[in-house]
Symmetry: D2
Subunit: 368 residues, 4 copies
């Protein structure tokens, strides 16, 4: 009872790592949108395993099939069901996990919750669940790009930190292009930092270890007015979206945790008139004030812990609670953030689009 | 379309800062719970303006009235409606705000969203909205304290940082008592730090400025198994709950942003057998793994920006977009975190209880 | 967990028959709508006890107070909280009901469900709960009246049958006016039938008995396109709305149960071109096809059982399950349908408006 | 935004009549339930086209595939995705419908709503959408059969009327067995009536026409206490569930529309002590009082209109609004009720199970 996200543009994901398939149902998609399967596939390819030498070597084509909701190349307004078959299942590769709880994985908590678990590759807790999110996000992003004829909504996430290697302050002064981000396997738009990050990942992998990192996401073109008072603030829903991703430990928007160290006189964003509309001189608010977008760039960071799977022996207990040791083996990403970039973008797109639709329904439909 | 939180134990808040009243409807409360209005009032008193010399001097009794859902001192399972009358309204005190957008407040975004706004004291965007949350949270906390006869759920939030004054590392090694927290006006359980914080707040207030801060929240007694796979992870819902509070800019759980700088071999929490059950040797996970509680203490931090209202003149624009200046005056909290402590606790209680009910409905009802 | 209705224009009702008050929170109301408390009151007055000599003599002014969501006479887009104080409480009048289950009331089922109940006047199961619905419905109806500048949505319910006295076939050939309906205490627009109905109600009341009846509701001005495929069909949501009213036992739309006796060649509504748009020659569909409005008049019937409270002694059991007899006394409506007319209209308005907003959000926001 | 049903045990259906497949995602299924694909298939076979000589000859195997949520023969508590491939697509068979609106079908309303439609076989409005409901319902029924070890919940629907041929009064005095219902192709447990119904259907089909009918559904074993006050009454949700089925025009519970003709003294169900618990002497309430089950048999009727597809030429308009005639051809059910029996049972199961879970979460989890 947890596998649905969004109120009007809503997505329901399903599937386990080593079941027959993973997939998603998108409900509430506006009709008449031209949509090709290749547009979905393009985003999935950015998420796919095996795309570079710093990610997991698991072999998955991740070919998406659209089963409903399209007619003659356009959406019909009915649910869009998409699925991706799992192909690289390895029967037997996970036998040890049937008996032992992997540290900092969801093995124990799933067992405690459900009294049963699919131990193969983490089952439902596997990041393969995010395939459905990315597929749905690709549709949302296409809609947002066309929503306002004068100004497309652009969502750009990138890796800003790996382990203790961070982009220099000011390096992201301008909105990065997709090409700049995709230029390196680590998806950091600052070439020198990217090189150091890749080096660090390779080094850590060589010791069988893993590292964490931070993704920054920036969104421009969002009109003022999205987000709701009280509970469904835009940053609250963005935060939930990001914290629902595997391995995330933190979310901050605008000034974030650093903002707690400032005075009001330093933090407030003065209003000014610019470009014919109300703008702020600075953007410590991160594009959201009182839970509602103010038309400035939305900027937030997401912290990811190091991958829990490591190729080193670890102490743990078995399903009967007896102390044991987990052998070191398996395929994994030594650092999840490069592949998570497109997932962050997808979730951001789902939030923005859903709020756009909610905003319009209440505020733009009737003329009083 | 935003004023409801929770799926099974759900709360709907309503009201504006200077309207007749603010209130809440609690739907889904378990029946037969003994409940006295004084129990609600006790939490409201911790949130109330004017309770110490470092918070706003606005005079509000904030007396709560229970209008439904109780019969002979027990809940009936029907909606519990509660309201608090606004008393310290100052007609005319907000005339300037009718014409000018206060920097880093919600004035502009509400106007952009709705095309109309109640400018008095921020209207719906006022933190008075959180009165309803605290009242509902008081009920949730009482239920949680009794939920498991063997082990009450205890939720304890406190101020861990004000401006750049933070509790020393290790100062919160043990679970703080309510008395330790309430011992000082700033609600920091480390007396020396608390004294410095209070000093800083007074100093900043004397210059008409404000400061931000951080609240830490710790929860013990939560059984393993709460939280849902995919979107409604426990940390995702806790994050949303906290980021839906006014002035919040960040949320982190367990290792948080610092965790991004660690290696997997440093970050993983080894399992061990302790106290007759599965425990972790460390708690970098912050009590949640794979989105589901693991029975360890839940620990998270919430970053608050400095209060946007300051007693210094600020540049802004008026409702027609013309540059202007905002005069310096008004009543405000120079730092919101001391009063926000009970609000953080309330929101945490709402999340934990709602997930408990959801968990039970799916996993504990039927015996297969 | 049941006290909320509607997805975008959503209402949450609260309150018991003999508690301090009953009320409602309306969330999602479009902003900028001019709204006066007198407009809400007008509908409540049509529902009020004591308005004629064929309804309950319970004395209630039912004066509504608006507590939030309005600013200078217009809605602000934030929640509108409304309450009505209960005034005619009679302590002691319900002592017998504390011990005995009234037949065909909700006494037993509430006890079985919650393990506790407010026995006074039915508590939450009292029809006083519908006060909140009527107040919210008054707002929805005003919006619908203005939604389409070319064509107001008009919702007109009336009593078409009391006991076995029904309006003659064809008597409702034209859309009845409000004046025709309000002309008689029984709210049947056919004067001769109305007179017979009133006579029947008085006669039945004189024997301490009660009767059931049928309300017909007709809605014109609804544009084609409202309603959703699959589960949230317009007739499904109208049906749920009506069957959620106290004392209802049936719902039918268009041809209804009589349609089951027809052949397809008799039942199908041929399309034709009329008034410059697609129309149907007949309206056995009742304005809805495939769950979606087709622009024709929406016509449905709601069956109400006879009032369960009668002034005759009845066999029952007490709370310990022992056989007993219920004495004959109390105040009640000998027939609920005259006062239920405005409640049916209110619920219909909530459904239509909510679907209008949902439709717009998905289908009219983006131009592809 | 309409393709989901249920709050805790929730189902999302997707798919079009002539798309690649139809399917469903079940979210919230309790874990550890033994489940075989053959159990789902058994119900789908009762719904399948071509199963007798009085239903559509469309050839569909309707073989279901389970894609997730099962592990080693048991449910895991994660979403259960199921799909059925469409096989009997006839390209070109629907060319006429691209241009013309079929009377009393959803062609026109889908076009009006979405501005686009899949005209092949009705697209999303096809009754093939109910495949997903039946598959989900099969799971719900299995759970309900085991929910209470002392008393299984049994749901039995059957055809009580076809055209003007109805079961004699009193014919369904005892709860019918599945064998009695499945004994005839028309699924009426009264053999003589069944024979007449079959005769009527064949006769009507021979003239290219169709007929409507009524399904009665009876449920026993439901404990007292399911259903919620106010909006989510058990009969309201049952009514919505049934009215969300294609071709339904009416719903009544217990005394239904006939109850409107009774007096309170005739209609009230006296309580008595029987079998060691509180029972009613009669059951005009239909097993629900005040929206909540009272432990008696739940009894309701659903009215279905005659199939809109007939093999006779009909007047209509084309997509440009010009008058035209629809040729007579196609495959169809001359009467939908025999195949709809299992769909009614499925929807009833979804409602009962969802309410059971909701009830438990609020009322049975905590002991006060």
């Amino acid at each position: 009872m947890s596998n649905r996200f969004g109120q009007l543009f809503s997505v329901t994901t399903w599937g386990e790592s080593h079941g027959p398939a993973v997939g998603v149902v998108v409900d509430g998609c506006p009709p008449r949108l031209p949509l090709a399967v290749s547009e979905i596939q393009a985003d999935l390819d950015r998420r796919r395993p095996g795309q570079s030498d710093i990610v997991t070597p698991r072999k998955e084509e991740d070919r998406v099939e659209i089963l409903s909701g399209l007619f003659e190349g356009r959406t019909t307004g009915t649910p869009i069901a998409m699925l991706v078959r799992n192909s690289d299942a390895r029967p037997g590769a996970y036998d040890e996990m049937r008996e032992k709880f992997r540290p900092s994985h969801a093995d124990y908590t799933y067992q405690a919750k459900f009294g049963i678990r699919d131990h193969q590759g983490g089952g439902r807790s596997s990041a393969r669940e995010t395939i459905g999110r990315v597929a749905a996000g690709a549709i949302a992003r296409k809609i947002l790009a066309q929503a306002n004829p004068d100004q497309p909504v652009e969502i750009r996430a990138f890796v800003s930190q790996v382990h203790d290697i961070a982009m220099p302050v000011g390096a992201a002064a301008t909105f990065p292009t997709l090409a700049e981000i995709e230029a390196t396997a680590v998806r950091c738009p600052h070439p020198a930092t990217a090189a150091a990050m890749i080096e660090r990942i390779k080094q850590v992998r060589s010791t069988g270890d893993s590292v964490g990192g931070i993704i920054q996401c920036r969104i421009r073109g969002v009109p003022p007015g999205l987000g709701e008072p009280a509970f469904d603030r835009l940053e609250a829903d963005l935060g939930k979206a990001m914290l629902s991703l595997p391995a995330t430990k933190g979310f901050e928007i605008g000034s974030g945790f650093a903002g707690a160290r400032l005075k009001g006189s330093e933090h407030n964003d003065a209003f000014e008139s610019r470009d014919g509309r109300v703008r702020t001189a600075t953007n410590r608010s991160g594009g959201v004030q009182g839970g509602i977008s103010n038309g400035e760039e939305i900027v937030f960071n997401v912290a990811f812990k190091p991958t829990a799977t490591i190729l080193q022996p670890q102490k743990t207990v078995d399903v009967r609670g007896n102390p044991t040791e987990l052998a070191a083996r398996g395929r994994h990403d030594p650092c999840v953030v490069p592949r998570a970039v497109v997932i962050v973008e997808a979730m951001a797109a789902l939030v923005i689009l859903d709020h756009w639709m909610r905003h319009a329904a209440q505020n733009q439909l009737f003329k009083f």
